[in-house]
C-alpha cells in the first residue's frame, strides 16, 4: 500500500471516529430532549415535587441546585484561585510543590461517590451539620476544587512570560504583576473555566446524595431570613438537587407519573448544563473584548 492511499484510509477512519463521537452526543441529547421537553411547563418548573400523586414539579430541586452551585462556587473559587496563583506564579520546583500537585491530581481522580461518603462521615456525622446545603456545598467544593484549580492554572499559564517581564521591568512586585496584569489578562479564560465547571457541579449527584440529602422540604419563598428553617436561604436545611431527584425517582419513585417527571427533570438538567457550556466561551470572548479595549 502506498503512502497516498494509506493517508486516504487514515483520513476516512479519523473522520468516521469523530463522526461517531458527535453522533453519540447528538443521539443522547435528542433522546433526552424528545422524551423530556413535552413534559415541561411553567407549573412543572415552579411547583414542589409530590411523592404519591401525579402533577408534581421540580421547583424546589431546581432552586436547591442553583443555590448549592452558588455556595460551592463561593467557597471553591477563592481557594482554587489562590492555589492556581501559587502554582503558576510563585512555586519553585521542590518538595512542597510536588506534594501540592500530587494532592490535586489525586483529589481530581477520586470518584465523586467517595467524596460524598467522606463528606457524610466528616461533615454530616462528625461535625453535626446533618444533611444540609452546607455539607453538600463543602462536598461539591472537594469535587470541584482540583478541576477548577487546574483550569485557572492553565488560564494563567497562557499569559505569555513577556507580560511578567514587562511588569517587573516596570518596577512592579510579583504580587502587583499578578494582580494588575496577569489576572486581568486571564479573566476571560478564568471565567470560561468557572462557567464550565459550574456545568459539571450542577449535574453532580453522587457527591450530594449523602451530604445535601435526598429530601426537599417545603420552602417558604417569601421568607428570606437564612436563620428560619423554611427559608430557601437556610444553609442547614436538607436540599435534594435536580440531579439527585432524578436518581431518586428512578430508583424508588412511586408517584404515578414518575417516568414523566424523570424525563422532564433530565431535560431541564441537560438544558441548563448545555446553557452553561455554550455560554462559557461566549462570555469569555465578550469579557476579553470589553477588557482589552476600554
Amino acid at each position: 500500500m502506498n503512502a497516498k492511499s494509506a493517508d486516504k484510509i487514515a483520513t476516512v477512519v479519523i473522520y468516521m471516529i469523530s463522526g461517531i463521537v458527535a453522533l453519540i452526543l447528538i443521539a443522547m441529547l435528542a433522546f433526552i430532549l424528545i422524551r423530556g421537553v413535552p413534559n415541561l411547563s411553567w407549573h412543572f418548573l415552579t411547583s414542589p415535587a409530590r411523592a404519591f400523586e401525579a402533577g408534581g414539579g421540580i421547583g424546589i430541586q431546581l432552586f436547591n441546585s442553583f443555590y448549592l452551585l452558588i455556595l460551592a462556587m463561593l467557597i471553591s473559587f477563592p481557594i482554587a484561585l489562590g492555589a492556581a496563583i501559587y502554582l503558576n506564579e510563585y512555586s519553585k520546583k521542590g518538595r512542597f510543590t510536588t506534594i501540592v500537585r500530587t494532592a490535586i491530581e489525586i483529589l481530581s481522580s477520586l470518584p465523586s461517590v467517595v467524596v460524598g461518603l467522606f463528606g457524610f462521615l466528616i461533615f454530616v456525622v462528625q461535625f453535626h451539620f446533618g444533611f444540609s446545603i452546607l455539607s453538600g456545598a463543602i462536598a461539591l467544593t472537594f469535587f470541584n476544587l482540583p478541576l477548577l484549580t487546574r483550569s485557572i492554572e492553565t488560564s494563567l499559564a497562557q499569559i505569555p512570560n513577556l507580560q511578567r517581564e514587562a511588569g517587573s521591568a516596570l518596577g512592579l512586585s510579583r504580587w502587583e504583576t499578578v494582580i494588575h496584569i496577569i489576572l486581568p489578562a486571564a479573566v476571560p479564560s478564568i471565567v470560561t473555566g468557572v462557567v464550565l465547571s459550574a456545568g459539571r457541579v450542577f449535574g453532580e449527584a453522587a457527591a450530594l446524595i449523602y451530604t445535601a440529602g435526598q429530601s426537599a422540604p417545603a420552602l417558604n419563598f417569601t421568607d428570606w431570613n437564612p436563620f428560619n428553617i423554611s427559608s430557601p436561604l437556610n444553609p442547614m436545611r436538607p436540599a435534594e438537587t435536580l440531579a439527585v431527584h432524578i436518581w431518586k425517582i428512578n430508583s424508588e419513585g412511586i408517584m404515578p407519573d414518575a417516568n414523566a417527571v424523570s424525563a422532564g427533570a433530565s431535560a431541564v438538567l441537560i438544558i441548563v448544563v448545555l446553557l452553561f457550556n455554550l455560554s462559557a466561551r461566549k462570555i469569555g470572548a465578550q469579557l476579553y473584548k470589553k477588557l482589552t479595549s476600554a
Binding site: 514587562a166 521591568a169 486581568p184 482589552t292 479595549s293 476600554a294
Partner: protein, 256 residues
C-alpha cells in the same frame, strides 16, 4: 577609554554570571556615561543580553543564576541586599525584543506605572500620556485611539507604546534588549529615530544584532564575544579602526 570629563551613570566591575555551573560572563568591566547611547554588539551567545539583563536584575526572576561583581548605579549598589528591585527598576527602564503591551487600552498602558505610583489626577495622567507618546514618536498615530486596545496596533507601534510606557515613569537609564529585531524595516527605522531624539536626555544601552543599527544610532559601542568584553570605544573607532583583531573580524562580517 571613556571620556573623563563626563560623569558615569553606571559603573560595572568584574561582572561574572553563572547559569547553574556554567559561567556565561567572565568578568566584565564597563562604564556608561550619563547621556547618549551605548550599543552592545556581538554574535549570539556572546553574553550581551545576559549582561544587560543583569543591570536591572531581571535574572532575579530565574532560578539558578548567580551574579557577582560590582554594579554602581549613581552610588546605588545594584546587588546590595538592601536595594529594592522594585525601586531600582523604576529608575532603570527596559524595552524588550518582543513588543509587550499589556492587554489594555493604549492610555492604560502608558499610565500603568504612574497609576501604581498612586497618581490619580486625570490632568497629570493625560499630560504624561501625551508627553510620553510624543517622546516615543507615536502620538500622531494613536492620539485619536487612546482608549482602544494596544493589542490592535502593529508590532512597531506596540513597541513604541512599550517604550512610552517606560518613559512615562521617568527612568534615569534605559535598557533596550534588541528592541527592533522583531520589527519590519520601517518600524525599526521609526524606533531608531525615536531613540536618536531621546539621546540628549537619556542614558541608553542597546543590545543589537544589527551592526548598521549600532553604527547609525550609538555614540559608543562595546563588542562582546564568548562572555568577554573585547573592546569598547567611540562607535566610529570600533567600526573604522578597532584595536583588536576579533573586533575587526566581527565588524567586517568575517564571523558572527
Amino acid at each position: 577609554m571613556t571620556d573623563i570629563k563626563q560623569k558615569n551613570i553606571l559603573e560595572t566591575r568584574d561582572v561574572k554570571l553563572w547559569y547553574g555551573q556554567k559561567e556565561a560572563l567572565h568578568g566584565i568591566n564597563l562604564n556608561f556615561p550619563e547621556k547618549g547611547i551605548t550599543a552592545l554588539i556581538g554574535p549570539s551567545g556572546s553574553g550581551k543580553s545576559t549582561y544587560i539583563r543583569a543591570i536591572n536584575r531581571m535574572h532575579d526572576l530565574e532560578d539558578n543564576v548567580t551574579v557577582t561583581g560590582s554594579f554602581d548605579f549613581k552610588g546605588t549598589d545594584i546587588y546590595a541586599p538592601t536595594t529594592d528591585t522594585v525601586d531600582l527598576r523604576k529608575r532603570i527602564g527596559m524595552v524588550f525584543q518582543q513588543p509587550n503591551p499589556f492587554p489594555f487600552s493604549i492610555y492604560e498602558n502608558v499610565i500603568f506605572g504612574l497609576k501604581l505610583a498612586g497618581i490619580k489626577d486625570k490632568a497629570v495622567l493625560d499630560e504624561a500620556v501625551e508627553k510620553s507618546l510624543k517622546q516615543a514618536s507615536i502620538w500622531e498615530e494613536v492620539k485619536d485611539d487612546l482608549h482602544k486596545s494596544a493589542l490592535g496596533l502593529s508590532g512597531g507601534q506596540q513597541q513604541r507604546v512599550s517604550l512610552a510606557r517606560v518613559l512615562a515613569t521617568s527612568p534615569e537609564l534605559l535598557l533596550l534588549d534588541e528592541p527592533t529585531s522583531a520589527l519590519d524595516p520601517v518600524s525599526s527605522h521609526n524606533i531608531e529615530e525615536t531613540l536618536l531624539n531621546l539621546r540628549d536626555d537619556y542614558a541608553m544601552i542597546i543590545v543589537t544584532h544589527s551592526m548598521s543599527q549600532a553604527s547609525r544610532i550609538s555614540d559608543r559601542t562595546a563588542f562582546f564575544l564568548n562572555g568577554d568584553l573585547i573592546e569598547v570605544d567611540a562607535t566610529k573607532h570600533i567600526f573604522l579602526n578597532p584595536q583588536r583583531q576579533e573586533t575587526q573580524d566581527y565588524v567586517s562580517g568575517r564571523f558572527g
